[in-house]
């Protein structure tokens, strides 16, 4: 098959994941070629290693400078693995990437990641657990779980996260979301590792103050970790999730930095959640690529997803172009005033990895 050629470091993970799902070789050139520190970052290389581990027969060629990568995908086999994540980004960066692949694997996924659970440099594990997994359920991935065995904050980390996916899909279900859902509750987790538990309560109070006027049920859990389960560095943060009764989730997350006030963080998280609700319809942030990619993998029917007008941004345009490059699938938007309806016709071929039982 002809290789898809990309330039630049954007959507690196999505590109690799899409190539793996589709079985199309990709070539990415000019990765940070004008940067003072050119080439792939540690976490990207580590991600490639992880991909190599969960697939069978994939070939990765990285140029000497690291600015060019050629990737020939193999077949997703999954299995039980351990992955040590470098400190550049969070565990979530890898977990999220694996979420794309896990349902289309030959064997069940069970990977233990060690590294940083929450940090401002990558997606936090709570946001994935509470925001992404319910999303996947919409596509028929029901038996998937993330267990946070240990938490660990930046820079030293020490977190341990276990991803288990027992669902092996042939085709994700076709999505038809024609109206933005209404959210009926806001839940959240405020955690702290190796700092005073009072920080957590202060965050919760501040967030609750902001969220109270919305009139919905607000329930934020304090999650204080102690001892060896609390990782190696002090840290605290908050993840808020707006829930609809049908299982849609919008999240916002923030991580405390040195010198900042927990009240500010709580308020900021809450405000960001409200802002997200205002400017996103059904899916937001990291959920968007997952949704679109899964829709592309679906049966050869038209799936529909409603988006807020503001959601069509540079990131999305870039993503859709990448999708087209790999899958040859174009997304069509229908203008519906405040919202935009995205229509995706799925690729419709069953996952190659799926095996049938012997006699």
């Amino acid at each position: 098959m002809e290789a898809a050629v990309f330039q630049g470091h954007h959507n690196f993970r999505e590109r690799v994941v899409m190539a793996t799902l589709h079985g199309r070789p990709i070539k990415i050139t000019k990765i940070r070629s004008t940067d003072l520190n050119p080439g792939l970052r540690d976490h990207e290389v580590s991600f490639l290693r992880l991909i190599e581990a969960v697939t069978n027969g994939s070939k990765i060629e990285i140029s000497y400078t690291g600015t060019t990568v050629i990737y020939h995908p193999g077949i997703i086999v999954g299995g039980q693995l351990k992955h040590q994540c470098p400190s550049g980004t969070t565990v979530g960066y890898y977990v999220e990437g694996m979420l794309y692949l896990a349902p289309f694997s030959k064997n069940k996924f069970s990977i233990v990641f060690t590294g940083i659970s929450n940090s401002s440099s990558g997606p936090g594990i709570d946001a994935i657990k509470w925001g992404m997994l319910p999303m996947m359920e919409k596509f028929g991935v029901r038996d998937i779980a993330i267990h946070i065995l240990k938490r660990g904050s930046a820079p030293q980390g020490g977190a341990e996260v276990h991803l288990v996916c027992n669902t092996l899909l042939k085709l994700p279900l076709t999505l038809h979301i024609t109206e933005p859902p209404k959210f009926s509750a806001i839940r959240g987790v405020a955690y702290s590792t190796r700092v005073s538990p009072s920080m957590v309560n202060r965050m919760i109070d501040a967030a609750r103050n902001v969220l109270r006027p919305t009139g919905v049920d607000v329930n934020i859990t304090a999650d204080v970790w102690r001892g060896e389960h609390a990782g190696l560095s002090p840290g605290w943060g908050m993840t808020l999730v707006a829930e609809s009764k049908k299982g849609w989730r919008l999240t916002s997350e923030n991580v405390g930095t040195a010198g900042s006030l927990p009240e500010d963080l709580g308020e900021k998280s809450a405000l960001e959640l409200l802002y997200r609700l205002q400017h996103n319809a059904v899916v937001a942030g990291d959920q968007v690529p997952l949704t679109f990619i899964f829709m592309c993998l679906g049966s050869a029917d038209i799936g529909r997803l409603v988006l807020h007008r503001d959601q069509i941004d540079e990131r999305l345009v870039l993503l859709l172009r990448d999708i087209k490059e790999v899958f040859d699938i174009e997304v069509v938007f229908k203008d519906e005033g405040e919202t935009m309806m995205a229509m995706v016709k799925g690729r419709g071929d069953t996952s190659a990895a799926k095996k049938i039982q012997g006699f």
Partner: protein, 1151 residues
């Protein structure tokens, strides 16, 4: 005489009541209320249930379009001389009143109002049969009734079965050769039953008698064609997932000059045909041409249907009529209307067979010849039909495109209002002829816009106004499009008005465009047009949102490559969220007015599902937390009052207030105290009703329309129905959404739909494809999924076909028909050793499945395949050629297969439990690799390899659980990995001049035979008779000292050796002369007697053997006779019985 006749005394009538009276004993008819046949009802129910269940199939989406489906492919299969051609000729003659002179290539014929059929004669070679089995919807299996089922028929049935099994209709011919009716009847019956075992019980078998005027009798043909025309087809899995096409016309588009320069140059080839299966991708669709190889479709064009159904034409007419009507209303002169057709008339019975000589259209290798008819034909014939007009238009090669458009709007006759104008454009470009193809090819490379029109420029020519959305579809389209615009609107609208047409889709409906053009005031960009253009994402958004008027787009677009370079460095401008201060200001909650638009909470109200607030003073006073609480309390109070209204809701509200639980009770009390005295019962009721309504509304709101779940749950009573309804609903959505798109977008999203007649252009096709083209062999173009473009190892379950004479050998080449492809590969047969390892098998087992792993292009699991050892005619013997059948289980890039390896060694020094072993390894390194490995002696003593010995290289020390013997042999059982050879050899039969003679890699045995090489036979491997030497043991010797110590009982009794000589020993007997002679004579007589006896014995044995044989023969004969007698007897008895039962007996009684 006494006279008195002694009459028989009157017999007393029975006192017993008759049966009928008995039944009525108790006042009613007992039989009416009794169970006449116990269990009958149950049996009936069970049977009907079974029938119902058997009718159920796994629900599958049928993706063939309903309104204009592709023609049904009917493959006519049979051994030579069974009348395939005659059958096609008769059917075609019946359906179209056309007599074919030759049957070459697919013949498409209109067979009904909504149905077309494509007949395809399948040649009698395996390659054609395989390809036909993959695409045929219906197989007419011709059987020589006089002969019965032949090997080819059986082979075809097996092939068809493993490619999804199309519908099979048996047709028995040559039935006129039977002399007697009874033998005909038995032959028919025999045939029918044989077919039933092969296809399914109750499969339909048609009988065709003799040939009249080179056709089968009209009545029989009619019956067959009726049967065909009402037949329904179930979607088959493979075909429901792939696009495919049966080529009915092939043209070489290579420039003649290029061919003249090099005859063997790669060709550009156009393949025409109806699309089947799923839609074909819009561009760069990968396909496999069976027998030629993999190709990428470099260009697709949808052509007007050469064989439209009457239904489709009627629809076109309706559209035409409406247009005329509309034109009449707007004051234009009324054109002549075409009359509505009610019945298929002869003109609609169209036949399309470009490869056969039919309808004046003859296809040759390099050209298409059109018979323009006699002198009665005139070019300007007004009454000419559509087809005729099109043909005459084809001749007008001198006219330019624009002229043709202006002169002859009749060219649109093939197209309908909305979709086909575009197609027509493509069609025209196709008509430009061979020379233009080169230019077109150039144009094709030149996709993407080179120049963007500057908006809002006045006084430019229309042709310069390149529409933004048209850019991607290539330059020639643009030009034509603009031409068309000029024709359509040129006079009526000013050119500057046209400038606003950025966004308008190509629609032929003049009025619509006009309205759009007039109505458009502001310029907005369509996001869909921008999304995949080459401008940077940021700019896309800017244009779409209309934020900034682009300063100089043209320049931006000209420096396309520079743009990309910037693209690479491009930074996603900002984080999703604004700064905290801005956020705070967006959602300020202290003392601001709700009506202000910037209040975030206000705008968010419709994003939340909040419990309804019923009290009058409710408002949206969310400013103070306490106030909020108060509101909820009111609600809570109400809720408690009639909590039976909606328990769940009340609960939810309760959770809402969790955070302020402290003063909740107090507030509630307050509320309760306040409310009750004020309201009257009427008021209360009204309030309750209001609340009920509100809650109901909320409940409905809450239940988002979840697709599928609630729509059908009421209607569908079971899972099956539910699934079917779901699929139908999804198809409906697909249709609705696709129809809402404009044609270009739709084409991009959906691709070319099944049922459309397309021209596929391929580049770099081997010249043999064209040079050796023969229309008798089907050209099947099958679309490939992305997985199918990759190579890897497939693990499959395989079984040698039980009719195949030989077992299959591991890594001997096998030709597989898997997916669209036919290829030769080297499978390795394996078995699973209790699921711990895959062990290689040298040969396939006799009557069981085994696994096979082979290398090749991947195909999704669960795909069945079929394997052959030979395909070519030359090597074909009379035996069954299908070698193996199987199914793909699993795809992988590598597979672990092991072969058993036994290493043998011998002890040379034995201590107690330790022994030194030699001859197993050749050096210490090898020993080191196996340290700790389990070893075993032949007698079963287990042991372990300990360490290599330093001195004799390869010897080692081992320990055992017991002392071993020097004569023992030591085994080490290991597994040796077997690698799969990456061998893939596609069958390129279509490129051969003699299509049936494709030969791949030969089998090992074949090579040996051809090269006269003996099969290597190792001395060790051959089986020899086991020779066991009698072992002689020496006498037991017990030492004297031991003997002395033995107890009395165990004393060994030994005779003393005799001291004196015996009497006989002392004397020597010497025979005298006479005696000697007598003895000699006697001996001789004895030997003669013995000889005689043995001879007699052998003779008598022979005789008795013969006698036995004869007896057996006789017994068999007797048995047969007996059976015949019995059969005859019972037949007669049965008939007698029947005739007795039926009273009078039928006329059949004669026999």
């Amino acid at each position: 005489m006494e006279g008195a006749q002694a009459n028989k005394a009157h017999r007393q009538g029975s006192t017993r009541k008759p049966a009928k009276a008995k039944l009525h004993q108790n006042g009613h008819n007992a039989k009416a209320f009794a169970v006449s046949a116990p269990g009958k009802l149950q049996r009936q129910a069970a049977r009907s249930g079974e029938i119902k269940e058997r009718a159920l199939h796994v629900p599958m989406v049928d993706r063939t379009p309903e309104d204009d489906p592709p023609p049904v492919i009917i493959a006519v299969v049979g051994p030579p001389g069974t009348g395939k051609t005659t059958l096609i000729k008769s059917l075609v003659r019946h359906l179209t009143k056309t007599t074919l002179t030759e049957v070459k290539g697919p013949i498409t014929v209109v067979s009904g109002k909504r149905r077309r059929v494509t007949f395809m004669e399948v040649a009698n070679d395996l390659n054609s049969m395989i390809d036909a089995a993959k695409i045929a919807d219906l197989v007419l299996l011709l059987i020589d009734g006089n002969f019965g089922l032949e090997m080819e028929t059986m082979e075809f049935l097996n092939i068809a079965q493993h490619h999804g099994m199309p519908r099979v209709l048996g047709v028995a011919t040559h039935l006129d050769l039977f002399k007697s009716a009874s033998s005909l009847r038995t032959a028919k019956k025999r045939l029918k039953h044989r077919l039933w075992t092969e296809v399914y019980q109750g499969a339909k078998l048609f009988y065709l008698s003799g040939v009249l005027n080179g056709r089968y009798p009209d009545r029989e043909t009619l019956n067959l064609s009726r049967f065909i025309s009402v037949m329904k087809f179930r979607p088959l899995k493979w075909r429901n997932e792939h696009p495919y096409l049966l080529a009915d016309r092939v043209t070489d588009l290579t420039h003649p000059q290029v061919i003249a320069q090099n005859r063997k140059c790669d060709r550009t080839v156009a393949v025409y045909g109806y699309l089947h299966g799923t839609p074909l991708a819009f561009e760069d669709a990968p396909v496999h041409i069976a027998g030629a190889g993999d190709f990428i479709v470099s260009q697709v064009e949808k052509l007007p249907d050469p064989c439209p159904t009457p239904h489709y034409e009627q629809k076109l007419e309706e559209i035409e009529r409406e247009r005329i009507k509309a034109a009449a209303e707007s004051g234009e002169p009324i054109a002549k209307t075409t009359r509505r057709r009610k019945r298929l008339d002869d003109k609609q019975k169209i036949i399309y067979a470009p490869m056969s000589d039919v309808g004046g259209l003859l296809m040759d290798k390099d050209a298409v010849y059109i018979d323009v008819g006699t002198e009665a034909f005139s070019k300007d014939n007004v009454d000419a039909g559509e087809g005729e007009k099109m043909v005459t238009d084809l001749q007008d090669a001198t006219k330019s495109m624009a002229e043709r458009f202006e002169d002859d709007p009749g060219l649109q006759l093939f197209t309908d209002g909305t979709t086909l104008q575009h197609e027509e454009v493509q069609e025209n470009s196709e008509k430009q002829g061979l020379l233009d193809e080169v230019e077109q090819a150039e144009i094709l490379h030149n996709t993407g816009r080179t120049k963007l029109r500057k908006p809002k420029m006045i006084g430019k020519k229309i042709t310069d106004d390149v529409e933004f959305d048209e850019v991607e579809s290539g330059d020639e389209d643009i030009e034509i499009e603009s031409n068309q615009m000029a024709v359509d609107l040129g006079e009526r609208y000013k050119e500057d008005e046209l400038e606003f047409a950025e966004d308008s889709e190509i629609e032929d409906d003049n009025t619509v465009i006009a309205q759009r053009l007039r109505g458009r005031e502001t310029k907005t960009w369509n996001i869909n047009k921008l999304l995949y253009s080459s401008i940077s994402p940021g700019e896309v958004l800017q244009r779409w949102k209309g934020l900034e008027v682009e300063e100089d787009i043209e320049e931006n677009d000209e420096v396309f490559f520079k743009k990309k370079a910037i693209d690479e460095d491009f930074k996603l401008s900002k984080s999703e969220f604004p700064e905290l201060e801005i956020l705070r200001s967006l959602f300020c909650q202290v003392g601001d007015d709700d009506d202000l638009p910037e209040n975030g909470y206000q705008s968010l109200k419709n994003r939340f599902l909040i419990a309804p607030k019923l009290a009058e003073n409710d408002g949206e006073d969310d400013t103070e937390a306490e106030n909020v609480d108060g509101d909820f309390e009111d609600l809570e109070a109400d809720e408690n009052e009639d909590s039976d209204l909606k328990g769940g809701e009340a609960e939810e509200d309760q959770t809402n207030n969790n955070d302020d639980f402290a003063d909740f009770d107090e507030e509630e009390r307050k509320a309760e105290m306040e409310e009750p005295p004020v309201l009257t019962t009427d008021q209360k009721r009204q309030l309750a009703a209001e609340k009920k309504a509100k809650l109901k509304l909320q409940f409905e709101e809450e239940e988002e329309q979840d697709f599928g779940a609630d729509d059908f749950s009421n209607e569908a009573d079971n899972w099956y129905e539910f699934q079917k309804a779901k699929m139908a609903k999804q198809l409906e959505i697909n249709k609705a959404e696709l129809e809402a798109m404009d044609p270009t977008t739709r084409l991009k999203i959906e691709g070319y739909r099944a049922g459309s007649y397309v021209k596929l252009v391929f580049k770099d096709v081997p010249c043999e494809f064209i040079e050796n083209l023969s229309p008798e062999y089907p050209i099947v173009v099958g679309g490939l999924l992305p997985t199918e473009m990759r190579f890897g190892v497939m693990n499959s379950r395989i079984r040698r076909h039980r009719w195949h004479k030989k077992i299959l050998k591991s890594s001997d080449p096998l030709i597989l028909s898997l997916g669209w492809r036919r290829f030769q590969t080297l499978p390795i047969y394996t078995t699973s050793d209790s699921r711990t390892r895959n062990r290689m098998l040298k040969y396939t087992p006799e009557h069981a499945y085994c696994f096979a792993s082979f290398y090749g292009p991947l195909v999704a699991p669960n795909t069945p395949f079929i394997g052959f050892n030979i395909l070519d005619e030359k090597n074909t013997t009379g035996s069954f050629r299908v070698a193996a059948t199987g199914i793909i289980q699993d795809l992988n890039s590598s597979v672990e297969i092991v072969k058993k390896l036994k290493l043998v060694g011998y002890p040379y020094k034995i201590f107690r439990n330790t022994a030194f072993i030699k001859d197993m390894f050749s050096n210490a390194l090898e020993v080191a690799k196996f340290e700790g490995a389990q070893i075993k002696t032949v007698s079963g003593i287990r042991g372990e390899i300990k360490r290599a010995l330093s001195k004799p290289e390869g010897h080692f020390r081992a320990t055992f659980e017991d002392k071993i013997l020097m004569s023992d042999t030591i085994f080490l059982k290991t597994w040796y990995p077997v690698k799969i050879k990456h061998f893939y050899n596609p069958v390129t039969s279509l490129l051969m001049s003699n299509k049936g003679e494709w030969q791949g890699m030969r089998l090992t045995g074949q090579i040996r035979r051809d090269q006269n090489i003996e099969t290597p036979l190792r001395e060790d491997s051959s089986y020899k008779p086991i020779e066991r030497k009698e072992r002689h043991f020496g006498p037991l010797k017990v030492p004297r000292t031991l003997k002395a110590q033995l107890p009395f009982k165990a004393q060994i009794v030994e005779k003393k050796p005799r001291k004196r000589e015996t009497y006989m020993a002392k004397r020597a007997v010497v025979l005298s002369g006479e005696e000697k002679k007598a003895r000699d004579l006697l001996e001789k007589i004895e030997s003669i007697k013995r000889e005689k006896e043995s001879k007699r014995k052998s003779k008598s044995q022979e005789k008795s053997k013969e006698k036995l044989k004869e007896l057996a023969k006789k017994a068999e004969f007797r048995k047969e006779k007996e059976m015949e007698r019995k059969k005859e007897y019972f037949q007669r008895a049965g008939k007698r019985e029947n005739s007795q039962k039926n009273g009078g007996g039928g006329k059949r009684q004669k026999r």
